[in-house]
Symmetry: C2
Subunit: 481 residues, 2 copies
Amino acid sequence: MAVVENLPPTNQSKSKAPDNAGAGAELHQGSADFAKKRSHTIVNIIAAVGDGDIIFLRQLIHGLHPADIASILADIPETAARTFIRLIGEELDSEVFAELDEDTKELVLEVLPTKAVARALEDLDSDDAVAFIEELDEAERAEVLAQTSDEVRASIEGAMAFEEDTAGRLMQREFVAAPEFWNVGRTIDHMRATGEDLPDLFFEIYVVDPAFRPIGAVAVSKLMRAPRGVPLKTLMENIHVIIRPENDQEDVAYSFQKYHLISAPVVDQGGRLTGMITVDDMVQVLQEENQEDLLALAGVSDASTTDDVWSSMVARLPWLVINLVTALTSSFFISKFSGLISQIVALAVLMPMVASLGGNAGTQTLAVAVRALSARELNRNNAMKVVFREAMTGVLNGLVIATVLATVAGLWFHNPTISLTIGLAVTMNFVAAGLAGILVPLTLEKFGQDPAVSSGVIVTFVTDMVGFVAFLGLATLIVSQ
Amino acid sequence: MAVVENLPPTNQSKSKAPDNAGAGAELHQGSADFAKKRSHTIVNIIAAVGDGDIIFLRQLIHGLHPADIASILADIPETAARTFIRLIGEELDSEVFAELDEDTKELVLEVLPTKAVARALEDLDSDDAVAFIEELDEAERAEVLAQTSDEVRASIEGAMAFEEDTAGRLMQREFVAAPEFWNVGRTIDHMRATGEDLPDLFFEIYVVDPAFRPIGAVAVSKLMRAPRGVPLKTLMENIHVIIRPENDQEDVAYSFQKYHLISAPVVDQGGRLTGMITVDDMVQVLQEENQEDLLALAGVSDASTTDDVWSSMVARLPWLVINLVTALTSSFFISKFSGLISQIVALAVLMPMVASLGGNAGTQTLAVAVRALSARELNRNNAMKVVFREAMTGVLNGLVIATVLATVAGLWFHNPTISLTIGLAVTMNFVAAGLAGILVPLTLEKFGQDPAVSSGVIVTFVTDMVGFVAFLGLATLIVSQ
């Protein structure tokens, strides 16, 4: 649970961490320790801000990772954050700007002169600058961009021209390329001479042909080890993934995962190298996409712990309303059997179980299907096999549960027809659950919809309807014999 | 959806991809194109295997990424895979061994001489060798390890001494360290001289003190750009995360995500550098942990598309049985109201809706809570605030849904007491759903349990019970007035 973050010198570490001058941060097991130290830093920062003590404040954040500074800003009260930004916002590392959450970003834009924000953007790699700008509204964006250099503005506007969640938004325009006829020594000399314009960090150098199309890549760690005279062409390895700016970020992230990539080149329509994407951005994308799936399956459109009551209502009400409609439909069908229910109240007692068990079986299959789709494990080659397996699993689990339930119901109500009815209804509903759980997401996917988003409500509707109607319908047939 | 993988020369690309000699692979939008090409390669491979045509087979897999070769082996029929391994298994790149799934690994162990497998392990970085060995059973493991060099065996056994899912299993023992007094030139010369023993790829060099404790890191891309005379000490940056082998892989992955790390040092009890962990392994861990959460929330203990019916039954039956018990408990309470239900059948018609709507609201809150816990966004500092927000969201969404439902029920049954009853019951159940949805996972987490695993069944039980009992109980009170 616990990462001890890089702490300011005022916090003495009680752990056995090596005493790294200026370094710090060790990953610990005890979350209590972590929470305590972090709270301590926060208390000190709030106090320093209250006193307007810039010197202490500087000392407190000295050596902290930009991500930690940003997360502290998000956690302290808004007035404290506002003063913090006013006091030392202009001297913060630009990287802090890349880590801010939406609320703190708004605060920074309010408090700091636009010029200071623009200056930070100049410093950042282009992908981080885009990530910062992307979340601002039209007017704020224009105001900040007006203060940046023509070069940075052009690069940001170029990226913003691509759709959200595409590679074009995530790529950085700084990369290192070398012609195929260069050797190791010349490449290293070139990099030493270029300095400033290189990306902050890079992990491979792209070898390009005369038309600037990437034909191979050399890992920096290999380049450095090779003798100066070795031509790049003999060192370079195949590029296994070439990205286009219009590619969906989820597809790109999937490739990074599959091929264990650290970075990959982005090419334009003509196949010319125009940027690169690095794995740190893909880690964020994978995380976001996974979390979206998890929330979507539960019928939540968007969520964050910082949400207020209103946004959390808005994120959930739509699916509840849809669920209300489907539940009303089920109830309408149940009402058709009112006569029977008033004769045999046991039906009303047992009925919810048939629907609930079927619903759970459906949700299980659905989760398996959504996971497999997002991991690209489920495709047309194996779809039929998986559909068959899910149907069979449904039949078998259905038979197990149905047998137990029929026995219990028989003992409880001393009525063999009720026992038979519930056994058959549960088995039928499990098969329906298995089929719906796999066919609904497959169908949504086929029509270009996100299978995580609306599958849940459809599958539950199927298992509710089959559960109630099969049970009451069978009861009508069997009991009226 | 689609990644065009690196294809053998026999497959002509019809896309506008740059014609990269030997390179290949471009990320495309059209999944049809991708599927077609891959199927084509597979058909050719099966044919070549059938003919025992080693030369064509070599040509077909030439230039393919090890991950693609492994995934093709998993997809072709077992007999074909077996022959493939027999024909050219011994000449495959060792990296292919690191990518094999469990079934194919078994096949490789059956078909190839143990010596060949051991040879592949010698070639791999130690973390990949461990990942290969980890999944074998005791006997197979001993057999393979007996054939490896003492050095490789010691390194694998050292890693296996750490528990599963810890950093000790994932770290590689190859890394680059340099004393703080070295300069850039000496460091580079040292690496050129060491050659073989360096890791396959690395992204930073750890600067160590005389006790071999890491005190800073220099990115390889910075080292290469710096003049030879610059001391490492002036180039190095703070290390923000130091890992211990016993750390949980999920905690490590979280740090990689938070600090955008590419690699991080692992230290032993004495703080001495013993290994490093790289981001590619963390991408797998994040993916696995996310998928586990998604499946666990739906009540599936483990799943893969390659599962047979039996394993997929076993993965799901336990939760279905627990659900059966909770559903029976609910039914038992419903049966206490049999008299009332037989008088007013409308209660039986409406009752499932109260439980179903509450269940959905509970699942929504639960998904939000599990996501926030896994993203480390929910902690003791903000727990009370989030609990309050969830309760309020419950009240408000409950009031909205209750109002609509009470109106519909009133119009349907022309009975204001039923209308009032269902309205109150739904509101109460939404509050219970909000509270259970957040308190259950928080409590499980507090007692060291995985909140994703058993929260679902508990929350649904709460909303079922509150739904049925509140509705029927209120009906007894209100109707009997």
